[in-house]
């Protein structure tokens, strides 16, 4: 990784003594972040695996119960998250180019869209609460025509609240990260030679986006064509 154009950065105050140069330090940090993200894949992977097993067990009940979720909110939130991923990628780009104002602007846009996502999610949770669709605490699904669907319906909504809940928790952590990075950016910490924290936080943000890319079709869009029993 001995790129010649990074040579001036070798005396950067941000270069830790156990690294050869800034490029090696950057590659190590990126690799380390990916190792952390692999543990996150395992964390969410367990839930996706369990979901797959139960959906295979109760395909009709899951398809029917999915209609208690509003795919319009889900699609809107997907679009919101994709915009936040774009602004995050542009923030990293601005940091690498040393564009301080652009970096701060893009971090703020990312935070606003992240919070917008959480707002819509909170609104959805409130609707489920009002509709009595929260399992275990009074949630019930009136399947008088198909009573065998009532229990799988509870299971699907358990998956829904656990998976979207942990995703929302990750979003909250992400907004916290962005706040920290924004404060660092305001102090002028980042430049063309040192932008690792922006890049690393960006990887986290995009990962959380990817989780939602799978949650949206698997929770909201199953059985849209099946008549509600």
């Amino acid at each position: 990784m001995a790129d010649t154009h990074v040579a001036p950065a070798e005396h950067s105050p941000h270069l830790r003594h156990h690294f050869d140069d800034m490029a090696q330090q950057f590659d190590s940090a990126t690799l380390g972040m990916w190792v952390f993200l692999l543990t996150e894949i395992m964390f969410f992977g367990g839930m996706f695996g369990a979901y797959t097993v139960y959906r295979s067990m109760y395909p009709e009940a899951f398809a029917s119960t999915s209609q208690f979720m509003n795919p319009k909110y889900g699609a809107f939130n997907t679009a919101v998250l994709i915009v936040s991923s774009l602004s995050m990628a542009l923030a990293v780009r601005a940091a690498r180019l040393g564009q301080q104002k652009m970096l701060q602007l893009m971090l703020i846009v990312t935070m606003i869209f992240g919070l917008a996502f959480l707002g819509v999610k909170g609104f959805e949770y409130h609707e489920h609460w009002v509709d009595m669709k929260v399992p275990l605490i009074g949630g019930h699904w009136d399947y008088s025509e198909a009573p065998q669907f009532a229990r799988p319906a509870q299971i699907l909504f358990c998956f829904y609240f656990f998976m979207t809940g942990f995703h929302a928790l990750h979003m909250l952590v992400g907004v916290g990260l962005m706040t920290t990075i924004f404060m660092m950016a305001r102090k002028g910490t980042f430049n063309e030679h040192y932008f690792t924290p922006v890049e690393i936080s960006g990887l986290y943000w995009h990962f959380v986006d990817i989780v939602w890319i799978f949650l949206f079709p698997l929770l909201y869009l199953i059985g849209r064509t099946k008549a509600l029993i």
């Binding site: 690799l31 993200l37 894949i41 992977g45 067990m57 991923s85 995009h206 986006d209």
Partner: protein
């Protein structure tokens, strides 16, 4: 360190991701039997690949990082394949079929 993707590249990737979100939404309204889930997952994998390669810029990362990223998704494939082969081969699934 790595080449910096252009502003235009990022906007194009964003546009494709947004269009694919619309596509996955509308295809889900059409009855395609078992193909609904197949198409939904294919689109999700496509979107994930774009985010990983361009937004996360793994395209320009070191071969070691690429290997780690690949290992993560390979692990996920093992988790799903072995879990499902176990459940289905034991006859524990009342439906006995996918979806």
């Amino acid at each position: 360190m790595h080449s910096i993707p252009s502003f235009r590249t990022y906007v194009i990737i964003w546009a494709i991701l947004t269009i694919m979100t619309g596509v996955t939404y509308y295809v889900a309204q059409i009855e395609l039997g078992p193909w609904n889930i197949v198409i939904a997952l294919l689109i999700a994998f496509f979107k994930m690949s774009l985010v990983v390669l361009f937004f996360m810029n793994v395209k320009a990362d070191s071969p070691l990082t690429k290997l780690f990223v690949g290992a993560g998704f390979f692990w996920m494939a093992i988790l799903l394949a072995l879990t499902l082969s176990d459940y289905f081969s034991r006859g524990w699934m009342p439906g006995g079929k996918f979806w």
